[in-house]
Amino acid sequence: MGAGHAHALYQHGHSTVHRMGPEAKLAAGFASVVAIATTPREAVWAFALHAAVLAAVVTAAELPPRFVLRRLAIVLPFVAFAFTIPFVAGGEEVTVLGVGLSRDGLWGTWNVLAKAVLGASVSIVVAGTTEEARIFKGLERLRVPVAITLIATFMLRYLTLIADELRRTRVAMRARGYAPRWLWEARPVASAAGAVFVRSYERGERVHAAMLARGFTGTMPELDTRTATRADWLRGATVAGVVAATALAAAVTT
């Protein structure tokens, strides 16, 4: 299964950000996201500063900007939604190109856009510089229940496999002439999903039996003993501190 781990979320590298202990990186990321989310929307300069800090971290992490931008496409549905806000929102109106738009709604669009893009970027940087197993190890060290991190580990490990299984059944059905267009033609799709669930469940049982045979006791052995050093925590605190200070300054001045 070794090859399955190198998925598109993670960019291999040896930068300072890559080498940081996962718990320090996650804590810094979480603190930064909270600070970004609570920055008052009127303080446009603060968001520019947040973006600058993020750009600096992306550079330090040696992540290709195209990788970050491509993955940011995930926020597009909400961007599209954000542009409808000024049309449906109430309150004071301003006229833009002859169309009456809500002033508060325009601020709402900006608010959703800026925070969605910046918040997602933080997740992308953390996931892009940390192997999935280390992310869950980091979460565990941050006192997230082991059951949650273990389920997440298994889920990610088998996700591509199960998704592929679903895709293959779909291809097989299409090859036999099944081309549904309406909801009432969905029965074979649902039957296939049911069959894949049964297979997934049975796979889970087999995997567990195999793990027991290899001496599984309920916890995963600690392979990654690299914990965050004092320097790691300091780096994380610096980044999160700058973002938080910006947010605080923005809150005070607006």
């Binding site: 979320l9 990321g29 979480f30 996201v33 909270v34 970004i36 989310a37 609570t38 929307r41 995930i74 926020v75 449906v88 929102a89 109430g90 309150g91 809500s102 508060d104 608010n111 959703v112 925070k115 969605a116 918040g119 997602a120 997740s123 996931a127 229940p145 059951a147 949650i148 273990l150 389920i151 997440a152 298994f154 889920m155 990610l156 490990r157 088998y158 496999l161 199960i162 998704a163 679903l166 549904p180 309406w182 909801l183 009432w184 969905a186 029965r187 649902a190 039957s191 999903a193 049911g194 894949v196 669930f197 049964v198 997934s200 469940y201 889970g204 049982e205 995997v207 567990h208 309920g218």
Partner: protein
């Protein structure tokens, strides 16, 4: 529905975070026994299935496609405790690794997409099983309706959170109407697909459907053949019923013109509302036609969701207590399972 960072205000994010953590905590406690044993890899791979099912498109109309949300499906197949934990993990990983949904928005995203759908959906499912015949057909219909209702409950929960944590001036009425309206349609698709998927699992491995652990296996084999159109018709009828119930609250609405004026925001411009000091975001109550009516709708919706989630939690706890006896029944199928693997 994967809301991004800062979509609702900080207070709402913290409050929903506390509620979600509490509910998932109960799920974890109840699932501990199962998770400590064989179900950790099993829950993980089931989570992968739910995640994958969300990427799997099914036809809706004229070639357009939609996808499953899977909260009720997980609760029915895996039981409410493991189901809620599994869907919560899916939502958390989507935010953390896939940047889908904000990390600081996890409180309300987990609440809407995992807690409300899994516990609420399961409560509706078990409630319906009391009314419907305890056969495969009954279970399929109960799962379908429960899944459809769970999606509407989820949309309603979001609207309620909007009432407290709005970040731009779209009134509660508009959000509630739009969210519930759209999700009634999504709910039909979710219901049909969930019902049929549960039916398919029930036909192959009835012992894997945790939601019917206490039903008679022989009776479960009894399935009337119902055409897909009939099933869809039933789904549409239930949606219509729900829509009627919802619209009843809005019955004493002002006349058409005034209504249009309200909807387009004309009447809102000069309005000074009386709830400036109420514990709701100014925005969400901004320009309501009738504050007391809207708050009554919100209150009723809140009670319904709380009851549904509460009933689901109780069901989860009860299942946990009764597992000693139930697990004996499950193990009957041990040899057969080994044979299939």
């Amino acid at each position: 529905m994967h809301a991004p960072d800062g979509f609702l205000n900080a207070g709402t994010a913290v409050a929903t975070g506390a509620i979600s953590a509490g509910a998932i905590g109960v799920g974890l406690r109840q699932a501990r026994e199962q998770l400590a044993d064989r179900q950790v890899p099993l829950a993980g791979i089931s989570a992968a299935f739910i995640f994958a099912a969300q990427m799997f498109n099914f036809p809706v109309a004229a070639g357009t496609t939609g996808h499953l949300l899977g909260g009720a499906l997980a609760a029915i197949l895996l039981g409410p405790a493991v189901g809620s934990v599994v869907v919560a993990v899916v939502v958390i990983v989507q935010a953390l690794l896939f940047a889908d949904g904000g990390v600081s928005a996890l409180g309300y995203n987990v609440l809407n997409m995992a807690v409300v759908t899994a516990f609420g959906g399961y409560a509706v499912f078990r409630g319906l099983l009391r009314l419907l015949p305890r056969t495969a057909t009954g279970v399929v219909f109960a799962s379908g309706i429960a899944a459809g209702v769970s999606v509407v409950l989820s949309a309603t929960a979001f609207s309620l959170e909007w009432l407290f944590g709005a970040t731009f001036p779209v009134p509660f009425d508009t959000v509630f109407g739009a969210m519930v309206g759209v999700h009634l349609l999504i709910g039909i698709g979710e219901g049909v697909l969930t019902g049929l998927t549960v039916g398919a699992v029930l036909a192959a491995r009835p012992d894997l459907v945790a939601g019917v652990h206490d039903l008679d296996r022989v009776a479960l084999r009894d399935r009337a053949s119902i055409g897909m159109r009939g099933f869809l018709l039933a789904g549409a009828l239930v949606a219509l019923l729900l829509a009627t119930v919802v619209s009843q609250f809005a019955a004493p609405a002002p006349d058409g013109l005034e209504r249009v004026a309200e909807d387009t925001g004309i009447a809102e411009v000069a309005r000074d509302h009386a709830l400036a000091d109420a514990p709701f975001a100014d925005y969400a109550t901004h320009g309501l036609r009738n504050e007391s009516l809207s708050l009554a709708v919100a209150g009723t919706a809140g009670v319904v969701i709380t009851l549904a989630v509460g009933a689901g939690l109780v069901a989860a706890v009860r299942r946990g207590r009764g597992r000693g006896r139930a697990s004996e029944g499950e193990h009957e199928h041990g040899p057969a399972r080994a044979g299939v693997g």
